[in-house]
Protein backbone atom coordinates (compact mmCIF):
# COMPACT_ATOMS: atom_id res chain seq x y z
CA UNK A 1 0.00 0.00 0.00
CA UNK A 2 2.81 2.34 0.87
CA UNK A 3 4.44 1.57 -2.44
CA UNK A 4 1.32 2.44 -4.36
CA UNK A 5 0.99 5.70 -2.55
CA UNK A 6 4.57 6.58 -3.35
CA UNK A 7 4.03 5.78 -6.98
CA UNK A 8 0.99 8.01 -7.40
CA UNK A 9 2.62 10.75 -5.39
CA UNK A 10 5.64 10.56 -7.63
CA UNK A 11 3.57 10.92 -10.76
CA UNK A 12 1.86 13.99 -9.37
CA UNK A 13 5.10 15.61 -8.37
CA UNK A 14 6.65 14.93 -11.71
CA UNK A 15 3.74 16.55 -13.43
CA UNK A 16 4.24 19.67 -11.37
CA UNK A 17 8.01 19.61 -11.58
CA UNK A 18 8.35 19.34 -15.35
CA UNK A 19 8.28 23.02 -15.91
CA UNK A 20 9.29 23.97 -19.34
CA UNK A 21 8.84 24.37 -23.01
CA UNK A 22 11.84 22.13 -23.06
CA UNK A 23 13.19 19.71 -25.56
CA UNK A 24 13.86 16.72 -23.32
CA UNK A 25 17.29 15.11 -23.16
CA UNK A 26 18.65 11.87 -21.76
CA UNK A 27 20.70 11.39 -18.62
CA UNK A 28 23.67 10.71 -20.84
CA UNK A 29 23.30 14.15 -22.40
CA UNK A 30 23.04 15.65 -18.94
CA UNK A 31 26.14 13.82 -17.70
CA UNK A 32 28.12 14.77 -20.78
CA UNK A 33 27.25 18.44 -20.43
CA UNK A 34 27.86 18.65 -16.69
CA UNK A 35 31.03 19.08 -14.64
CA UNK A 36 29.62 18.28 -11.24
CA UNK A 37 26.81 15.93 -10.23
CA UNK A 38 25.99 15.69 -6.55
CA UNK A 39 23.18 14.49 -4.34
CA UNK A 40 22.24 15.81 -0.93
CA UNK A 41 20.01 18.10 1.10
CA UNK A 42 19.36 21.72 0.23
CA UNK A 43 20.46 23.53 3.38
CA UNK A 44 20.19 27.17 2.36
CA UNK A 45 18.96 29.42 -0.43
CA UNK A 46 19.72 33.09 -0.93
CA UNK A 47 18.45 35.34 -3.71
CA UNK A 48 19.54 38.66 -5.15
CA UNK A 49 19.39 40.85 -8.22
CA UNK A 50 22.31 40.34 -10.57
CA UNK A 51 23.86 42.58 -13.18
CA UNK A 52 21.58 41.12 -15.87
CA UNK A 53 18.54 42.57 -14.10
CA UNK A 54 17.16 39.20 -13.05
CA UNK A 55 16.75 37.70 -9.62
CA UNK A 56 19.07 34.70 -9.19
CA UNK A 57 19.06 32.24 -6.34
CA UNK A 58 22.04 30.44 -4.80
CA UNK A 59 21.25 27.05 -3.30
CA UNK A 60 23.72 25.23 -1.10
CA UNK A 61 23.66 21.45 -0.87
CA UNK A 62 25.09 19.40 1.98
CA UNK A 63 26.64 16.68 -0.19
CA UNK A 64 25.84 13.04 0.55
CA UNK A 65 27.08 11.62 -2.72
CA UNK A 66 29.41 12.88 -5.39
CA UNK A 67 28.48 11.24 -8.67
CA UNK A 68 30.91 13.18 -10.81
CA UNK A 69 33.46 15.97 -10.52
CA UNK A 70 35.26 17.58 -7.64
CA UNK A 71 33.06 18.63 -4.78
CA UNK A 72 33.56 19.51 -1.16
CA UNK A 73 31.10 18.87 1.68
CA UNK A 74 28.96 21.73 0.52
CA UNK A 75 28.27 22.78 -3.05
CA UNK A 76 26.60 26.07 -4.00
CA UNK A 77 25.05 26.64 -7.40
CA UNK A 78 22.89 29.30 -8.96
CA UNK A 79 19.70 29.32 -10.99
CA UNK A 80 17.32 31.97 -12.30
CA UNK A 81 14.35 33.04 -10.20
CA UNK A 82 13.73 33.77 -6.55
CA UNK A 83 12.33 36.30 -4.11
CA UNK A 84 13.89 39.58 -3.04
CA UNK A 85 11.74 41.65 -0.71
CA UNK A 86 8.23 41.85 -2.11
CA UNK A 87 9.23 40.84 -5.65
CA UNK A 88 9.41 37.30 -6.97
CA UNK A 89 10.73 36.20 -10.34
CA UNK A 90 9.61 32.82 -11.57
CA UNK A 91 11.08 31.35 -14.74
CA UNK A 92 9.08 28.78 -16.64
CA UNK A 93 12.04 26.64 -17.68
CA UNK A 94 13.92 26.89 -14.36
CA UNK A 95 13.60 24.42 -11.49
CA UNK A 96 12.76 25.71 -8.04
CA UNK A 97 14.39 24.47 -4.85
CA UNK A 98 13.34 24.48 -1.22
CA UNK A 99 15.37 24.20 1.94
CA UNK A 100 15.19 20.66 3.29
CA UNK A 101 14.64 19.08 -0.12
CA UNK A 102 16.73 16.04 -1.01
CA UNK A 103 17.93 16.44 -4.57
CA UNK A 104 20.44 15.40 -7.18
CA UNK A 105 21.68 18.21 -9.40
CA UNK A 106 23.61 18.42 -12.65
CA UNK A 107 25.95 21.43 -12.57
CA UNK A 108 28.37 23.22 -14.85
CA UNK A 109 30.65 26.23 -14.56
CA UNK A 110 29.09 29.60 -15.17
CA UNK A 111 31.03 32.36 -16.90
CA UNK A 112 31.70 34.04 -13.55
CA UNK A 113 33.31 30.87 -12.23
CA UNK A 114 30.46 29.82 -9.99
CA UNK A 115 28.46 26.67 -10.57
CA UNK A 116 25.07 26.81 -12.22
CA UNK A 117 22.49 24.26 -13.22
CA UNK A 118 23.35 22.49 -16.47
CA UNK A 119 20.08 22.59 -18.36
CA UNK A 120 17.09 24.21 -16.73
CA UNK A 121 14.51 21.96 -15.09
CA UNK A 122 16.24 18.89 -16.48
CA UNK A 123 19.07 19.60 -14.00
CA UNK A 124 17.10 18.54 -10.95
CA UNK A 125 16.10 15.14 -9.58
CA UNK A 126 13.98 15.12 -6.44
CA UNK A 127 14.24 12.37 -3.85
CA UNK A 128 10.96 11.32 -2.25
CA UNK A 129 10.75 8.20 -0.09
CA UNK A 130 14.01 6.86 -1.43
CA UNK A 131 13.23 7.34 -5.12
CA UNK A 132 14.07 10.03 -7.63
CA UNK A 133 10.63 10.92 -8.81
CA UNK A 134 11.55 12.40 -12.20
CA UNK A 135 12.95 9.04 -13.29
CA UNK A 136 11.04 6.88 -10.81
CA UNK A 137 14.18 5.02 -9.73
CA UNK A 138 15.55 4.12 -6.27
CA UNK A 139 18.38 6.25 -4.95
CA UNK A 140 21.28 3.82 -5.30
CA UNK A 141 20.16 2.34 -8.58
CA UNK A 142 20.04 5.78 -10.18
CA UNK A 143 23.33 6.93 -8.64
CA UNK A 144 24.98 3.77 -10.01
CA UNK A 145 23.53 4.37 -13.45
CA UNK A 146 24.81 7.93 -13.59
CA UNK A 147 28.21 6.88 -12.27
CA UNK A 148 28.52 4.31 -15.00
CA UNK A 149 27.63 6.87 -17.66
CA UNK A 150 30.15 9.31 -16.16
CA UNK A 151 32.88 6.66 -16.15
CA UNK A 152 32.42 5.86 -19.82
CA UNK A 153 32.27 9.35 -21.17
Amino acid sequence: MRKIFTFTFALLLFAAAAFAAIYPVSDKWMVNHSEVIVAGEVVSITSDYEADGLIWSYATIQVDQVVMGLASDQVTFKYQGGTVGDMTLRVSTSPTFEEGEEVLVFLKSAEDGTLEITNWVLSKRTLVDGRFIEVDKPYHEYIDELTEIANTR
Binding site: M1, I4, F7, T8, L11, L12, A15, A16, A18, F19, A20, A21, I22, Y23, P24, V25, D52, G53, L54, D86, M87, T88, L89, R90, V91, S92, T93, S94, T118, N119, W120, L122
Partner: protein, 450 residues
Protein backbone atom coordinates in the same frame (compact mmCIF):
# COMPACT_ATOMS: atom_id res chain seq x y z
CA UNK B 1 -1.20 -9.46 -5.27
CA UNK B 2 -4.39 -9.21 -7.24
CA UNK B 3 -5.64 -6.76 -4.71
CA UNK B 4 -2.51 -4.68 -5.18
CA UNK B 5 -2.91 -4.60 -8.95
CA UNK B 6 -6.50 -3.53 -8.57
CA UNK B 7 -5.45 -0.73 -6.29
CA UNK B 8 -2.84 0.46 -8.78
CA UNK B 9 -5.39 0.48 -11.56
CA UNK B 10 -7.82 2.42 -9.43
CA UNK B 11 -5.13 4.85 -8.43
CA UNK B 12 -4.14 5.45 -12.03
CA UNK B 13 -7.75 5.87 -13.05
CA UNK B 14 -8.27 8.45 -10.33
CA UNK B 15 -5.14 10.27 -11.38
CA UNK B 16 -6.26 10.32 -14.98
CA UNK B 17 -9.71 11.62 -14.30
CA UNK B 18 -9.14 13.97 -11.38
CA UNK B 19 -5.62 14.80 -10.40
CA UNK B 20 -4.16 15.40 -13.83
CA UNK B 21 -5.01 18.66 -15.45
CA UNK B 22 -4.28 22.36 -15.38
CA UNK B 23 -2.12 23.91 -12.70
CA UNK B 24 -2.64 27.27 -11.01
CA UNK B 25 0.56 28.88 -9.74
CA UNK B 26 -0.90 31.27 -7.18
CA UNK B 27 -0.46 34.49 -9.10
CA UNK B 28 -2.48 36.17 -11.83
CA UNK B 29 -3.76 39.56 -13.01
CA UNK B 30 -7.11 39.52 -11.22
CA UNK B 31 -6.23 42.53 -9.05
CA UNK B 32 -6.34 44.72 -12.15
CA UNK B 33 -9.47 46.75 -12.86
CA UNK B 34 -12.22 45.33 -15.01
CA UNK B 35 -12.23 44.68 -17.89
CA UNK B 36 -9.07 42.75 -17.36
CA UNK B 37 -6.71 43.04 -20.22
CA UNK B 38 -3.00 42.89 -20.52
CA UNK B 39 -1.02 44.74 -23.14
CA UNK B 40 1.57 42.63 -24.95
CA UNK B 41 4.25 44.12 -27.20
CA UNK B 42 5.81 42.09 -29.98
CA UNK B 43 9.35 42.08 -31.31
CA UNK B 44 9.34 40.28 -34.69
CA UNK B 45 13.09 39.65 -34.67
CA UNK B 46 13.15 35.95 -35.51
CA UNK B 47 16.03 35.26 -37.88
CA UNK B 48 14.88 31.88 -39.17
CA UNK B 49 13.94 31.44 -42.78
CA UNK B 50 10.68 29.81 -41.71
CA UNK B 51 9.68 32.87 -39.73
CA UNK B 52 8.80 34.67 -42.94
CA UNK B 53 8.24 38.40 -42.75
CA UNK B 54 8.03 40.50 -39.62
CA UNK B 55 4.30 40.69 -40.24
CA UNK B 56 4.10 36.89 -40.34
CA UNK B 57 5.74 36.80 -36.92
CA UNK B 58 3.39 39.41 -35.47
CA UNK B 59 0.48 37.50 -36.94
CA UNK B 60 1.61 34.14 -35.55
CA UNK B 61 2.24 35.58 -32.08
CA UNK B 62 -1.10 37.36 -32.09
CA UNK B 63 -2.84 34.14 -33.09
CA UNK B 64 -1.27 32.59 -29.99
CA UNK B 65 -2.79 35.38 -27.90
CA UNK B 66 -6.15 35.01 -29.61
CA UNK B 67 -6.14 31.31 -28.81
CA UNK B 68 -6.80 32.48 -25.24
CA UNK B 69 -8.58 35.78 -25.73
CA UNK B 70 -11.08 34.39 -28.22
CA UNK B 71 -11.41 30.76 -27.25
CA UNK B 72 -10.82 30.43 -23.50
CA UNK B 73 -14.11 32.29 -22.80
CA UNK B 74 -12.59 33.63 -19.60
CA UNK B 75 -12.71 37.17 -18.22
CA UNK B 76 -9.21 37.91 -19.41
CA UNK B 77 -8.01 39.41 -22.67
CA UNK B 78 -4.68 40.15 -24.21
CA UNK B 79 -4.62 43.47 -25.97
CA UNK B 80 -2.32 44.27 -28.83
CA UNK B 81 0.46 46.55 -27.65
CA UNK B 82 2.11 46.90 -31.07
CA UNK B 83 5.68 46.41 -32.18
CA UNK B 84 8.68 46.79 -29.93
CA UNK B 85 12.43 46.56 -30.35
CA UNK B 86 12.85 45.64 -26.69
CA UNK B 87 14.70 42.37 -26.20
CA UNK B 88 15.11 41.95 -22.46
CA UNK B 89 13.15 39.86 -20.02
CA UNK B 90 14.12 42.11 -17.13
CA UNK B 91 11.55 44.01 -15.09
CA UNK B 92 10.75 47.16 -17.06
CA UNK B 93 6.96 47.55 -17.00
CA UNK B 94 6.56 46.14 -20.51
CA UNK B 95 5.15 42.71 -21.30
CA UNK B 96 7.04 41.63 -24.39
CA UNK B 97 7.61 38.67 -26.66
CA UNK B 98 10.90 38.51 -28.54
CA UNK B 99 13.33 36.12 -30.16
CA UNK B 100 16.79 35.76 -28.66
CA UNK B 101 19.68 35.02 -31.01
CA UNK B 102 21.20 33.06 -28.15
CA UNK B 103 20.47 29.62 -26.85
CA UNK B 104 19.73 28.53 -23.34
CA UNK B 105 20.10 24.85 -22.72
CA UNK B 106 17.26 22.95 -24.26
CA UNK B 107 14.64 25.57 -23.65
CA UNK B 108 12.53 26.29 -26.70
CA UNK B 109 10.93 29.31 -25.11
CA UNK B 110 10.85 30.67 -21.58
CA UNK B 111 8.35 32.83 -19.74
CA UNK B 112 9.64 35.18 -17.04
CA UNK B 113 6.94 36.15 -14.54
CA UNK B 114 7.35 38.93 -12.02
CA UNK B 115 4.89 39.03 -9.18
CA UNK B 116 4.44 40.65 -5.81
CA UNK B 117 2.79 39.75 -2.56
CA UNK B 118 -0.81 38.67 -2.79
CA UNK B 119 -0.08 36.89 -6.04
CA UNK B 120 -0.28 40.11 -8.05
CA UNK B 121 1.47 39.55 -11.35
CA UNK B 122 3.10 42.74 -12.53
CA UNK B 123 4.96 41.69 -15.67
CA UNK B 124 5.53 38.72 -17.90
CA UNK B 125 8.01 38.40 -20.75
CA UNK B 126 8.45 35.59 -23.25
CA UNK B 127 11.66 34.73 -25.04
CA UNK B 128 11.94 32.32 -27.96
CA UNK B 129 15.41 30.77 -27.97
CA UNK B 130 16.10 31.34 -31.64
CA UNK B 131 19.79 30.50 -31.41
CA UNK B 132 19.00 26.95 -30.40
CA UNK B 133 15.89 26.11 -32.39
CA UNK B 134 14.39 26.90 -35.75
CA UNK B 135 10.98 28.48 -35.75
CA UNK B 136 8.27 28.77 -38.31
CA UNK B 137 5.79 31.64 -38.38
CA UNK B 138 4.56 31.16 -41.91
CA UNK B 139 1.85 28.57 -42.56
CA UNK B 140 2.97 25.02 -41.73
CA UNK B 141 6.21 24.18 -39.92
CA UNK B 142 8.46 21.52 -41.32
CA UNK B 143 9.51 18.65 -39.10
CA UNK B 144 12.64 20.55 -38.04
CA UNK B 145 10.85 23.72 -37.05
CA UNK B 146 8.86 24.75 -34.00
CA UNK B 147 5.64 26.53 -34.77
CA UNK B 148 5.58 30.07 -33.35
CA UNK B 149 1.80 30.17 -33.00
CA UNK B 150 1.86 26.79 -31.23
CA UNK B 151 4.62 27.80 -28.78
CA UNK B 152 3.20 31.31 -28.27
CA UNK B 153 -0.15 29.82 -27.24
CA UNK B 154 1.65 27.72 -24.61
CA UNK B 155 3.78 30.56 -23.25
CA UNK B 156 0.86 32.99 -23.19
CA UNK B 157 -0.98 30.45 -21.07
CA UNK B 158 1.87 30.92 -18.59
CA UNK B 159 1.35 34.67 -18.82
CA UNK B 160 -2.23 34.07 -17.65
CA UNK B 161 -0.79 32.42 -14.55
CA UNK B 162 -1.13 28.81 -15.59
CA UNK B 163 1.52 26.19 -14.95
CA UNK B 164 1.83 22.93 -16.78
CA UNK B 165 -1.01 20.54 -17.37
CA UNK B 166 -0.53 16.80 -17.31
CA UNK B 167 -3.07 16.37 -20.10
CA UNK B 168 -0.77 15.61 -23.00
CA UNK B 169 -3.19 16.99 -25.58
CA UNK B 170 -3.51 20.29 -23.76
CA UNK B 171 -1.73 23.45 -24.85
CA UNK B 172 -0.25 23.77 -21.36
CA UNK B 173 1.41 20.36 -21.51
CA UNK B 174 5.11 20.91 -20.78
CA UNK B 175 6.69 19.31 -23.79
CA UNK B 176 6.50 20.36 -27.41
CA UNK B 177 7.79 18.67 -30.48
CA UNK B 178 8.89 19.96 -33.84
CA UNK B 179 6.23 20.39 -36.42
CA UNK B 180 3.51 20.43 -33.78
CA UNK B 181 0.53 22.68 -34.51
CA UNK B 182 -2.12 20.93 -32.43
CA UNK B 183 -1.58 23.33 -29.52
CA UNK B 184 -2.44 26.37 -31.60
CA UNK B 185 -5.93 25.79 -30.25
CA UNK B 186 -6.96 25.11 -26.70
CA UNK B 187 -7.96 21.84 -25.08
CA UNK B 188 -10.90 21.86 -22.68
CA UNK B 189 -8.38 21.50 -19.86
CA UNK B 190 -6.77 24.83 -20.89
CA UNK B 191 -10.19 26.48 -21.04
CA UNK B 192 -11.00 25.16 -17.57
CA UNK B 193 -7.69 26.50 -16.24
CA UNK B 194 -8.24 29.99 -17.63
CA UNK B 195 -11.78 30.07 -16.30
CA UNK B 196 -10.60 28.84 -12.90
CA UNK B 197 -8.29 31.86 -12.76
CA UNK B 198 -10.56 34.56 -14.13
CA UNK B 199 -14.09 33.22 -14.22
CA UNK B 200 -16.21 32.55 -17.23
CA UNK B 201 -16.72 35.29 -19.79
CA UNK B 202 -20.09 36.94 -20.31
CA UNK B 203 -22.17 34.58 -22.42
CA UNK B 204 -21.88 36.80 -25.50
CA UNK B 205 -18.67 36.69 -27.50
CA UNK B 206 -17.37 37.27 -30.99
CA UNK B 207 -14.42 35.93 -32.97
CA UNK B 208 -13.12 37.20 -36.29
CA UNK B 209 -10.51 35.37 -38.29
CA UNK B 210 -9.31 35.02 -41.87
CA UNK B 211 -9.85 31.97 -44.03
CA UNK B 212 -6.26 30.96 -43.18
CA UNK B 213 -4.77 32.55 -40.06
CA UNK B 214 -1.32 31.01 -40.50
CA UNK B 215 0.18 33.86 -42.50
CA UNK B 216 -0.04 37.63 -42.48
CA UNK B 217 -2.11 39.61 -44.96
CA UNK B 218 0.25 42.16 -46.48
CA UNK B 219 -0.88 44.30 -49.44
CA UNK B 220 1.06 46.51 -51.80
CA UNK B 221 -1.75 47.97 -53.79
CA UNK B 222 -5.33 46.91 -53.93
CA UNK B 223 -6.37 43.45 -52.85
CA UNK B 224 -8.81 41.57 -50.70
CA UNK B 225 -9.06 38.92 -48.02
CA UNK B 226 -11.79 36.56 -46.90
CA UNK B 227 -12.87 36.42 -43.29
CA UNK B 228 -15.33 34.74 -40.98
CA UNK B 229 -17.10 36.16 -37.95
CA UNK B 230 -18.45 33.81 -35.32
CA UNK B 231 -20.94 35.24 -32.85
CA UNK B 232 -21.71 33.19 -29.77
CA UNK B 233 -24.64 33.30 -27.42
CA UNK B 234 -24.07 30.91 -24.55
CA UNK B 235 -27.07 32.16 -22.64
CA UNK B 236 -30.11 29.93 -22.29
CA UNK B 237 -32.21 32.52 -24.09
CA UNK B 238 -32.02 34.01 -27.53
CA UNK B 239 -30.75 37.58 -27.70
CA UNK B 240 -30.53 40.42 -30.16
CA UNK B 241 -27.16 41.98 -30.83
CA UNK B 242 -25.62 44.70 -32.90
CA UNK B 243 -22.71 43.31 -34.92
CA UNK B 244 -20.23 45.66 -36.53
CA UNK B 245 -16.93 45.43 -38.35
CA UNK B 246 -14.66 48.44 -38.39
CA UNK B 247 -11.06 49.36 -39.08
CA UNK B 248 -8.39 50.92 -36.93
CA UNK B 249 -6.23 52.84 -39.39
CA UNK B 250 -2.44 53.18 -39.19
CA UNK B 251 -2.86 56.59 -37.53
CA UNK B 252 -4.97 55.01 -34.79
CA UNK B 253 -8.26 56.48 -35.91
CA UNK B 254 -11.32 54.35 -36.46
CA UNK B 255 -12.94 53.97 -39.85
CA UNK B 256 -16.36 52.51 -40.41
CA UNK B 257 -18.35 50.57 -39.59
CA UNK B 258 -17.79 48.69 -42.81
CA UNK B 259 -20.51 46.28 -41.74
CA UNK B 260 -23.31 47.23 -39.42
CA UNK B 261 -25.95 44.66 -38.57
CA UNK B 262 -28.43 46.31 -36.30
CA UNK B 263 -30.31 43.41 -34.83
CA UNK B 264 -28.63 40.08 -35.15
CA UNK B 265 -30.67 37.45 -33.41
CA UNK B 266 -28.78 34.55 -31.93
CA UNK B 267 -30.82 31.70 -30.48
CA UNK B 268 -29.97 30.32 -27.07
CA UNK B 269 -26.62 28.53 -26.89
CA UNK B 270 -25.96 29.10 -30.53
CA UNK B 271 -23.37 30.44 -32.88
CA UNK B 272 -24.00 32.44 -35.99
CA UNK B 273 -21.48 32.66 -38.78
CA UNK B 274 -20.88 35.49 -41.20
CA UNK B 275 -18.59 34.95 -44.17
CA UNK B 276 -17.27 38.01 -45.91
CA UNK B 277 -14.70 39.37 -48.26
CA UNK B 278 -12.96 42.68 -47.62
CA UNK B 279 -11.58 44.82 -50.42
CA UNK B 280 -8.38 46.80 -49.82
CA UNK B 281 -8.40 49.98 -51.91
CA UNK B 282 -5.33 50.84 -53.94
CA UNK B 283 -4.98 54.17 -52.20
CA UNK B 284 -5.01 52.79 -48.65
CA UNK B 285 -2.38 54.43 -46.43
CA UNK B 286 0.74 52.42 -45.72
CA UNK B 287 0.91 50.89 -42.27
CA UNK B 288 -0.68 48.50 -39.82
CA UNK B 289 -4.45 48.04 -39.62
CA UNK B 290 -6.67 46.30 -37.13
CA UNK B 291 -9.66 44.55 -38.65
CA UNK B 292 -12.13 44.43 -35.83
CA UNK B 293 -15.43 42.68 -35.13
CA UNK B 294 -17.54 44.00 -32.29
CA UNK B 295 -20.56 42.43 -30.65
CA UNK B 296 -22.61 45.07 -28.95
CA UNK B 297 -25.74 45.92 -27.07
CA UNK B 298 -28.53 46.91 -29.44
CA UNK B 299 -29.28 50.04 -27.46
CA UNK B 300 -27.32 53.22 -26.94
CA UNK B 301 -24.47 53.61 -26.00
CA UNK B 302 -23.51 50.49 -27.86
CA UNK B 303 -21.40 48.93 -25.17
CA UNK B 304 -19.16 46.20 -26.51
CA UNK B 305 -19.88 42.76 -25.17
CA UNK B 306 -16.79 41.51 -26.91
CA UNK B 307 -14.23 42.56 -29.50
CA UNK B 308 -12.00 40.43 -31.71
CA UNK B 309 -9.44 41.59 -34.25
CA UNK B 310 -6.49 40.71 -36.40
CA UNK B 311 -3.92 42.88 -38.09
CA UNK B 312 -3.21 43.37 -41.76
CA UNK B 313 -0.67 45.57 -43.46
CA UNK B 314 -0.35 47.86 -46.46
CA UNK B 315 3.18 48.51 -47.63
CA UNK B 316 5.58 49.21 -50.41
CA UNK B 317 4.25 52.22 -52.26
CA UNK B 318 3.91 55.95 -52.01
CA UNK B 319 2.09 57.01 -48.87
CA UNK B 320 -1.42 58.04 -49.70
CA UNK B 321 -3.21 60.73 -47.78
CA UNK B 322 -5.24 59.60 -44.84
CA UNK B 323 -8.19 61.48 -46.25
CA UNK B 324 -8.32 58.83 -48.92
CA UNK B 325 -8.75 56.05 -46.43
CA UNK B 326 -12.50 56.28 -46.57
CA UNK B 327 -12.71 55.23 -50.18
CA UNK B 328 -13.00 51.77 -51.57
CA UNK B 329 -13.34 49.65 -48.42
CA UNK B 330 -16.05 47.52 -49.95
CA UNK B 331 -17.16 44.54 -47.90
CA UNK B 332 -19.27 41.76 -49.31
CA UNK B 333 -20.57 38.72 -47.54
CA UNK B 334 -23.52 36.98 -46.03
CA UNK B 335 -24.67 35.46 -42.82
CA UNK B 336 -26.29 36.61 -39.59
CA UNK B 337 -29.30 38.56 -40.80
CA UNK B 338 -30.19 41.64 -42.72
CA UNK B 339 -30.18 44.92 -40.91
CA UNK B 340 -30.70 48.55 -41.53
CA UNK B 341 -27.59 50.67 -41.73
CA UNK B 342 -27.33 53.21 -38.97
CA UNK B 343 -27.80 56.69 -40.33
CA UNK B 344 -24.84 58.97 -40.00
CA UNK B 345 -22.21 56.45 -39.01
CA UNK B 346 -20.54 56.55 -42.41
CA UNK B 347 -18.73 53.76 -44.11
CA UNK B 348 -20.23 51.38 -46.55
CA UNK B 349 -22.81 49.61 -44.50
CA UNK B 350 -23.65 46.19 -45.66
CA UNK B 351 -27.05 44.74 -46.37
CA UNK B 352 -27.47 41.04 -46.74
CA UNK B 353 -30.27 38.59 -47.28
CA UNK B 354 -29.61 36.31 -44.35
CA UNK B 355 -31.80 35.19 -41.52
CA UNK B 356 -34.01 37.50 -39.52
CA UNK B 357 -35.64 35.73 -36.64
CA UNK B 358 -39.24 34.82 -37.28
CA UNK B 359 -42.05 35.89 -35.01
CA UNK B 360 -41.11 33.36 -32.39
CA UNK B 361 -39.08 30.29 -31.51
CA UNK B 362 -40.54 27.40 -29.60
CA UNK B 363 -38.00 25.43 -27.53
CA UNK B 364 -37.85 21.97 -26.07
CA UNK B 365 -39.46 21.81 -22.66
CA UNK B 366 -37.17 21.55 -19.61
CA UNK B 367 -36.90 19.08 -18.02
CA UNK B 368 -37.90 16.39 -20.45
CA UNK B 369 -38.87 13.69 -19.64
CA UNK B 370 -40.55 15.17 -16.59
CA UNK B 371 -42.73 14.40 -13.56
CA UNK B 372 -44.91 16.23 -12.88
CA UNK B 373 -43.70 19.79 -13.67
CA UNK B 374 -42.00 21.05 -16.77
CA UNK B 375 -41.30 24.44 -18.34
CA UNK B 376 -42.25 25.27 -21.89
CA UNK B 377 -39.98 28.00 -23.17
CA UNK B 378 -40.35 30.19 -26.19
CA UNK B 379 -38.97 33.45 -27.47
CA UNK B 380 -41.32 36.00 -28.90
CA UNK B 381 -39.74 38.48 -31.27
CA UNK B 382 -42.71 40.75 -31.73
CA UNK B 383 -45.86 41.59 -29.82
CA UNK B 384 -48.55 39.07 -30.67
CA UNK B 385 -51.58 37.18 -29.50
CA UNK B 386 -50.33 33.85 -28.22
CA UNK B 387 -51.95 30.54 -27.36
CA UNK B 388 -50.23 27.59 -25.73
CA UNK B 389 -52.10 24.29 -25.55
CA UNK B 390 -51.39 20.72 -24.50
CA UNK B 391 -52.72 17.78 -26.54
CA UNK B 392 -52.47 14.03 -26.14
CA UNK B 393 -51.42 11.81 -29.04
CA UNK B 394 -55.05 11.25 -30.03
CA UNK B 395 -55.30 14.96 -30.73
CA UNK B 396 -57.56 15.66 -27.74
CA UNK B 397 -57.04 19.03 -26.05
CA UNK B 398 -55.83 18.44 -22.48
CA UNK B 399 -55.26 21.97 -21.25
CA UNK B 400 -54.92 25.53 -22.46
CA UNK B 401 -52.08 27.37 -20.73
CA UNK B 402 -52.33 30.61 -22.71
CA UNK B 403 -55.52 31.58 -24.47
CA UNK B 404 -54.96 34.16 -27.19
CA UNK B 405 -53.03 36.27 -24.74
CA UNK B 406 -51.59 39.58 -25.94
CA UNK B 407 -47.87 39.41 -25.13
CA UNK B 408 -44.99 41.77 -25.67
CA UNK B 409 -41.72 40.55 -27.23
CA UNK B 410 -39.32 38.66 -24.99
CA UNK B 411 -38.48 35.25 -23.60
CA UNK B 412 -41.27 33.30 -21.91
CA UNK B 413 -41.35 30.23 -19.74
CA UNK B 414 -44.71 28.63 -18.97
CA UNK B 415 -44.96 25.83 -16.44
CA UNK B 416 -47.25 22.82 -16.85
CA UNK B 417 -47.97 20.58 -13.84
CA UNK B 418 -49.29 17.59 -15.81
CA UNK B 419 -52.92 18.28 -15.00
CA UNK B 420 -55.86 18.62 -17.36
CA UNK B 421 -58.33 21.49 -17.50
CA UNK B 422 -60.24 19.99 -14.57
CA UNK B 423 -57.13 19.90 -12.44
CA UNK B 424 -56.76 16.11 -12.57
CA UNK B 425 -53.36 14.53 -13.06
CA UNK B 426 -52.93 13.02 -16.49
CA UNK B 427 -51.41 9.60 -17.14
CA UNK B 428 -47.82 9.00 -18.19
CA UNK B 429 -47.04 9.20 -21.88
CA UNK B 430 -46.19 11.48 -24.73
CA UNK B 431 -47.93 14.84 -25.04
CA UNK B 432 -47.78 17.61 -27.61
CA UNK B 433 -47.52 21.29 -26.87
CA UNK B 434 -48.74 23.71 -29.48
CA UNK B 435 -47.75 27.36 -29.63
CA UNK B 436 -49.88 29.65 -31.77
CA UNK B 437 -48.49 33.10 -32.49
CA UNK B 438 -50.80 35.13 -34.71
CA UNK B 439 -51.59 32.63 -37.41
CA UNK B 440 -48.35 30.64 -37.12
CA UNK B 441 -48.20 27.35 -35.25
CA UNK B 442 -45.37 25.27 -33.78
CA UNK B 443 -45.64 21.85 -32.17
CA UNK B 444 -43.23 19.81 -30.03
CA UNK B 445 -43.38 16.54 -28.11
CA UNK B 446 -42.72 15.93 -24.45
CA UNK B 447 -42.75 12.86 -22.24
CA UNK B 448 -44.43 12.57 -18.86
CA UNK B 449 -43.03 9.73 -16.74
CA UNK B 450 -44.38 8.34 -13.49
Amino acid sequence: MIRNITLIVVALALLTSYSFGYELLGYDWTYKPDPMGEDIEFNPNCSDYGCGSEEDQINALWQGANAWTDYAKAEFEFTYGGWTTRNSYTYDAHNIIFFSPGSSGNAIATTYWWYQSGGRMTEADIVFWDGAFSFSAYQSPSYSEFDVWNIAAHELGHVHGLGHSSVSASTMYAYSSQGETSKRTLHSDDVNGAQALYGEQDPFSVIIHTDDDSYARVFSGSGSFDFTVLAYNNDSYGHLFRATIDLVLPDGSTHGPLLNLNSVYIPANSTLTYNGSQNIPGNAPVGEYKYRARMRDTSYPYDDYDVSYFMFWVEGKAVAGLEEAGEGWALTGSGFESAEPLAGEGGQAHTSTAIIPGAFELRQNVPNPFNPNTNINFDLYEEANVSLQIYNLKGQLIKTLLDNRALDFGPYSIEWDATDSDGNSVSAGIYLYKLTVGNEIALKKMTLIK
